[in-house]
């Protein structure tokens, strides 16, 4: 039986509406609160560490697997290792959101280490939403680690968003791509108050004709601070693109440090970055449509983070 807070968090981070269709595992306060495998997606405990092994059979198409985690009690530091093995030719959606909540003054942390091993020709849409809720002064922390190994001609799209309320986050993502493999990452982060967010991407384009596209959009409000670091290494004939756009509001601060490494004459690598406050003309335009300055700013930020 899930408590109300967990149900609310699940609704936000993984579209929970009282049930999941298909394979799932709900992790609540460090324990399994519900699990179901499907004919094609097998979920088992990890033998050596806390966490799961998720095996998706070759050729599995059109299925979604939900692996959300929630921490709703102060004082819990939840560490979990989840390994996803995606079989050859499979085409699936993986939803792995996380919500942390504390209202008793104690800190909470979720530290999820997800490994993706994609076999030849497989395709994955990986959706990850993070949120922190609750008053009381306890720090809410989410530190996701994502390690990706992509086989020949595989495709992974990672859609990751930090909605808000997380006091501190260190988000580390690394990928190693084989021949013809493609990795697309869309990251959106909102920080406010005294929150901090640190993002670190490292992608090795090892295979011929591999490609990576990393787009990070962030909003730093209040006194919050964000750091963005990305490194794309082109070690073969490949294409890499990274884009870091940040909006500053109030006293928000952003440090963006993109890095490109071309280890092959045929590597084509591009980086774009833009940091600044909302353009005054954008706010004025929306005011001429009848929005107040505050409404205009909110709308622009919503659109920016929606991407």
């Amino acid at each position: 039986m899930l408590d109300k807070t967990t149900e609310e968090l699940l609704g936000i981070v993984s579209d929970w509406s009282g049930k999941f269709n298909g394979a799932y595992n709900i992790r609540s306060n460090g324990e399994c609160a519900g699990r179901q495998s499907s004919e094609n997606i097998l979920i088992e405990n990890k033998p050596d560490n806390p966490g799961l092994v998720i095996r998706i059979k070759p050729g599995t198409k059109g299925e979604t697997v939900y692996i959300p985690a929630c921490v709703t009690k102060g004082g819990i530091n939840d560490l979990v290792y989840n390994d996803f093995y995606v079989g050859e030719g499979a085409d699936v959606i993986i939803v792995a959101g996380c919500g942390v909540h504390t209202a008793d003054g104690h800190d909470v942390r979720h530290h999820g280490i997800h490994r993706f091993i994609l076999a030849k020709g497989s395709r994955v849409l990986y959706k990850e939403k993070h949120i922190g809720t609750g008053a009381g002064g306890g720090a809410k922390r989410i530190d996701p680690v994502t390690e990706i190994e992509q086989g020949e001609d595989s495709y992974l799209e990672m859609d990751t968003i930090q909605i808000g309320g997380v006091d501190s986050t260190y988000r580390k993502t690394s990928g190693r791509l084989g021949k013809g493999a493609k990795l697309v990452i869309k990251e959106r982060i909102m920080t406010d108050g005294n929150q901090t967010a640190n993002t670190d991407f490292a992608v090795e384009l090892d295979g011929e004709d591999s490609g990576a596209d990393i787009v990070s959009r962030s909003v730093a409000k209040g006194n919050s601070y964000q750091e963005y670091h990305s490194k794309i290494s082109g070690n073969n004939r490949c294409k890499g693109h990274s884009e870091c756009d940040a909006i500053l509001a109030d006293n928000g601060k952003v440090n963006a440090a993109p890095e490109l490494y071309a280890g092959s004459l045929d590597a084509e690598l591009i980086h774009e970055a833009a940091i600044g406050k909302i353009a005054g003309e954008q706010i004025i335009k929306l005011q001429t449509l009848g929005l107040s300055e505050e409404e205009a700013e909110k709308k622009i930020i919503e659109g920016f983070l929606r991407g």
């Binding site: 959009r217 756009d245 353009a279 003309e281 954008q282 004025i284 335009k285 929306l286 005011q287 001429t288 449509l289 009848g290 929005l291 107040s292 300055e293 709308k299 622009i300 919503e302 659109g303 920016f304 983070l305 929606r306 991407g307």
Partner: protein, 246 residues
């Protein structure tokens, strides 16, 4: 009805941009403001929309003094303003902008109708982001469409709507302007140098060096204006000379 009474505006540097401007923009009529570049036309449009505040004078909307109102309040009172340079956004799409302007959800059909007025096909543009991926002409037409979609509009101000618009879309736009004034009884104020727009106007005001040089019904002003323009293109005697040389 929008009335502008003795409006003056000065830059922080002290340079006078508009000097004692008085104009009336009647309901259901199209008024064109024309004149040389740098004469103060766009500044006047910005003062009407509330983007700038005058140093003296008054702006009255239906006899209510709106001079001190901010941009939002003026918009809610029915003043629409299409920017000369379209504003671009990262993350807002065409549907977002039109729905914000209309202050309601719009069906695909509604959007198609609005975009059709500026010569755009809705299916191609409905979900397009209003960002650098749009050409100048596309962005301009979406800017105009955002004003055409405006809820409870009374006075619509367009700053050089013809800029960057192809001939075919421009014809649709002319039709839209005519419908707005005749069927919908809106007050239109268009800043333009375009002869076709001057031809469909009811009133014309010529602003140069920050003052109204001429103002009156189209029939009174247009012939004189086009004559002046021709004279400017061909200084006295030069056309004759050219003809002789031909």
């Amino acid at each position: 009805m929008l009335k502008i009474k003795n409006l003056s505006w000065t830059l922080e540097s002290g340079e006078e941009i508009l000097k004692n401007i008085s104009l009336e923009i009647p309901e259901g009529k199209l008024t064109v403001i024309t004149g040389p570049n740098g004469g103060g036309k766009t500044s006047l449009a910005k003062l009407i929309a509330g983007l700038e505040k005058p140093v003296s004078g008054e702006i009255l909307l239906d006899n209510e003094n709106i001079t001190e109102w901010d941009i939002t309040k003026r918009s809610k009172a029915g003043i629409g303003y299409a920017f000369q340079q379209p504003v671009r956004f990262k993350g807002l799409n065409v549907r977002d902008l039109l729905e914000l302007s209309a202050q309601r959800s719009l069906s695909d059909r509604d959007i198609c109708e609005i975009l059709g007025k500026v010569g755009l096909c809705a299916n191609e543009y409905i979900d397009r982001n209003i960002d650098a991926s749009l050409s100048g002409g596309e962005a301009k037409r979406i800017e105009i469409a955002s004003v055409l979609a405006k809820k409870d509009a009374k006075v619509l101000v367009f700053d050089e709507p013809e800029a960057g618009i192809d001939l075919w879309s421009f014809s649709s736009l002319i039709d839209a302007f005519e419908r707005l004034k005749t069927t919908e009884k809106k007050s239109l104020l268009i800043i333009s140098h375009q002869e076709r727009i001057l031809e469909i106007s009811d009133h014309i005001a010529v602003i140069a060096n920050g003052v109204v040089r001429k103002s009156g019904r189209r029939e009174e002003i247009l012939g004189e204006l086009l004559g002046e323009e021709k004279a400017e293109r061909c200084p006295l005697g030069k056309d004759k000379e050219d003809n002789n040389n031909a």
